[in-house]
Every structure is written in C-alpha cells, then in structure tokens.
C-alpha cells in the first residue's frame, strides 16, 4: 500500500549554523508523522550527523556549496534524503567505532549513530555532482507495542508476531 507522500524539500547553504535549522525541520516533520518523542529525537540526531557529514566532510565547509534535504512522509515510514556536493565516501571503509581498537578514537561515530537510530541507511553517489544519503524510519502503528511497554503489550506482540 503506497500512497503519495507528504513532501518537505529545502536547500540550505553549507554552513554549520544550518544544522540546527535542519534539526528544527526534522522535529516538526517527525511530529507531523506521529513519531514518539524518543523516535523524533533519534531522527533529529540522525539528521544532525548526516548534515555534519554533508557540510563538513562532503562540502568541506565551503559556504558556496549547498545541502539539499527532502522529507517524505508515507503512511508507514519517513524517508529523509540529504544530498551534498562532495566526492562521497566508501561505506565499506567506515570502521566499527565500538571495536576495542577504535573505542578511544576521537572521530568515526557519526555513521554508526545514524545506523543505530534509523531503520535503513543508504548511500548513493552521483559522480561529479555529489552524494546522497537516505534515512528511513518506520512509523509504528498506534496499536503496536513499542520497546519498554507493559507485559500485557509484550504478550500481545508475541501472540501476533
């Protein structure tokens, strides 16, 4: 069942100040989509990390470049696309920040947090024009139990899964 999504699209100047602008949009979109406060915070953090990657690593903090954002609210999920004008990165080369040899490294946790907080994370390269990441968070139907629910809810979950 796929219906036309509600769409919010914005292009922001590649400036770290705009990370908070993007977060504010994400907060509103997540609220409109009906996410819980905790899920909304996870979406906001995932977008924050994606914006940092786009501005800092992708666009090399050049204000002349821009970051394109698109939010699509479907019945069952929110999809967020973040596109920069950089050369991209190889997702396979992103190290596990939780492994013993990386645990005390200063950087390298951004992608890990995005993957932790979202249900799907995809990277697409557009040679010569930039890199686009897609973040997907599924919307839990109101009657479906969530983590940390009551025993009764867990029973219901178990019996239907």
């Amino acid at each position: 069942m796929t219906s036309e999504p509600s769409v919010v699209e914005v292009t922001l100047e590649s400036d770290l100040k705009n990370v908070e602008v993007a977060e504010e949009i994400a907060r509103r979109v997540a609220g409109t989509a009906g996410f819980s406060e905790e899920s909304a915070h996870q979406i906001e953090m995932a977008l924050h990390e994606s914006m940092i990657n786009a501005i800092w690593h992708g666009n090399k903090n050049e204000a002349s470049k821009s970051v394109w954002l698109r939010f699509e609210i479907y019945n069952d999920r929110l999809e967020i696309r973040v596109r920069d004008q950089g050369n991209g990165f190889n997702i396979a080369e992103v190290a596990d920040p939780c492994s013993a040899e990386n645990l005390l490294k200063v950087s390298g946790r951004g992608i890990f947090l995005i993957r932790t907080f979202m249900d799907e994370f995809h990277v697409k390269h557009f040679p010569g024009s930039g890199t686009e990441v897609t973040l997907v968070k599924r919307i839990q139907p109101p009657h479906q139990p969530t983590q940390g629910g009551t025993d009764r809810e867990h029973e219901s979950h178990n019996s239907t899964s």
Binding site: I52, L103, L104, V106, S107, G110, F112, T116
Partner: protein, 116 residues
C-alpha cells in the same frame, strides 16, 4: 543554544559544569581548550558535570574521549557526573559507558578521586 562551562574547585578536584549543546564547532573547541588549560595549570583531577547538557553529538562524544585520553596521558583522571538519559544512552550505545568512571552524586564523585 550554545555550550556554557563554569569551573569550580572542590578540594583537589576541578568540577566543570557544562550546559547546552556539545556539538561540532564551538562547543567541542571550548571543551578542548578548557581541559588543556586545566592540564597546563597542573590540575589533573577533572569531574565533568553533564547534568544540564541538552544535546551531545558524535563530535561531542569524541571530545569527551579526547579529554579523557589527554588527562589520563598526563597521569590524571577525568570522570563524568550526572548524565542525562540521552547522554547515558549514547554512552551505552557507543560502548563508552564502561570506559568512563561515572557518578550520580557530586560528593561521592569528588571523593572518588581521593581514594584513587
């Protein structure tokens, strides 16, 4: 909301009360400078109070790790005080919860330096 930090001394321990956001840019730079200053003054017992931190990102976590390593490398100790649920969860997810010595009570936190 940007990051604010105030410093006070409790016995031999430097308590740093941080509020706001510890994120890439100003917040991280401020924390780095602050820890560097304390080490330059010979203060190697640092307790960072995160009770009023509303937001911390991957760079902020990295900055805490960097501060921890810098103080440890000089023979000192850096500990954390009063994590909010969000910061607590982030340290759990990133497996750093076991790296840092974390306290909920300031008196016990400052006293823990004396024992070590």
């Amino acid at each position: 909301m940007s990051m604010k930090a105030t410093i006070r001394q409790v016995d031999s321990v430097i308590v740093v009360d941080i509020s706001g956001r510890i994120t890439l840019g100003e917040g991280c730079a401020q924390l780095r400078e602050l820890v560097r200053d304390q080490l330059a003054k010979g203060n190697k017992r640092v307790l960072i109070n995160l009770a009023d931190v509303s937001y911390i990102d991957s760079s902020g976590i990295g900055e805490l790790v960097s501060a921890y390593t810098a103080v440890s490398n000089q023979g000192g100790q850096l500990k954390l005080l009063k994590l909010t649920k969000k910061v607590h969860d982030l340290l759990q997810i990133t497996k750093l919860y076991t790296v840092f010595d974390i306290h909920d009570d300031e008196a016990k936190g400052t006293a823990s330096f004396e024992k070590s």
